[in-house]
Symmetry: C2
Subunit: 208 residues, 2 copies
């Protein structure tokens, strides 16, 4: 059991509490209490509440997009032919699963946080996505387009957009009370991701 620094404890606690209570339901006082430190520590380490939340988002988003781009690199290396569509979709969707099984529950919580941030149209998240990760998202879109020559370019754009929506929505649902089966949480997550990949694949596959 490693001892975490105050800064790390604050970040983890913020992530956990926001995943449980949402962005509005938390105060610096509850964060500092649960992180077993003092109220002033937050402002000392992060400046203010907004910057704390930004740092919390940033550290996991970097990991998520790095996992995605690594998988896409692997797919596209070697051949110049269009990649297998399912593999592309998996490269986009699966890292969410990977993350959620690592990081001592932190990743799983983060998916909830991310979904909330999307819905709240966080200005910070939006600018981060359009600045730091826009290239990666565009690469995925283009890779999908090459793999679906039978679909109009605009249609692919729309459907990729819709798939991202499903992913966000599903992520937000983990931890919610929807789960009625007696599966383990990680089995359930795994199943859900596979279903989502098949769903995305079907939505982009030409029928007949």
């Amino acid at each position: 059991m490693t001892v975490l620094s105050t800064k790390e404890r604050i970040l983890n606690t913020t992530e956990k509490l926001i995943s449980e209570k949402g962005f509005s339901g938390i105060s610096l006082r509850t964060i500092s209490t649960h992180a077993k430190t003092n109220l002033a520590a937050v402002n000392y380490h992060f400046g203010n509440k907004e910057k704390l939340i930004e740092m919390m988002l940033e550290r996991r988003l970097d990991t998520l997009f790095e996992l995605r781009v690594n998988l896409l690199d692997e797919l596209e290396s070697g051949s110049s032919k269009p990649c297998n569509l399912k593999h592309i979709l998996k490269a986009f969707i699966a890292p969410a699963l990977t993350m959620s099984n690592d990081y001592h529950q932190g990743g799983k919580r983060f998916m909830l946080v991310l979904a909330r941030a999307y819905a709240e149209k966080s200005e910070f998240l939006h600018s981060l996505l359009s600045k730091r990760y826009a290239d990666i998202i565009k690469r995925f879109a283009q890779s999908i387009q090459r793999a679906t020559p039978y679909l109009d370019e605009n249609v692919v754009f729309w459907r990729f957009h819709f798939i991202m929506g499903s992913l966000i929505y599903v992520m937000a649902d983990f931890g919610a009370s929807t789960k009625t089966s007696d599966m383990s949480e990680s089995d359930y997550f795994n199943l859900c991701c596979n279903e989502l990949i098949e769903f995305a694949l079907a939505s982009l596959t030409q029928s007949k």
Copy 2:
């Protein structure tokens, strides 16, 4: 120009402000100011803040689900054969479009509000969906299942779930800065809904 009651003005203003700033970004003071009434009027007419928000959600949800179920009734009347899949999906998705073109912008705003409520896992919304509208949702799921006999029952369940996610996500995106084209807002909304229906249809259509 009809004169609205204080109660209606408060409900409309709440809907508008939440669609713009989210559930956390509003106070009873800003609501009452924008509704051109007094702070205490909110508590007088609604009891407290929570009940105000619940009433705001309820009035439009009733309309939305009534539109949906009417369309489904129409589809299922007469023949005992499975309905056309596209028509079922349209009956579920299109009312969001219908609503957003009525009610003097109110419906459009409400879709944003609804998306936010989903993401925040509003306890009230959840219980309303599982109590008051569960039957309607189940009817749609069953109707889709009859129309897709080639798909496993569980798969249909998952995909309907994912489609709902896309719908929510898309609704949340209206009014956001994603729109780059020079279409009118209502044309854009229309196009988006059609794309969503085609997307949903493709995801449930057996390939090959």
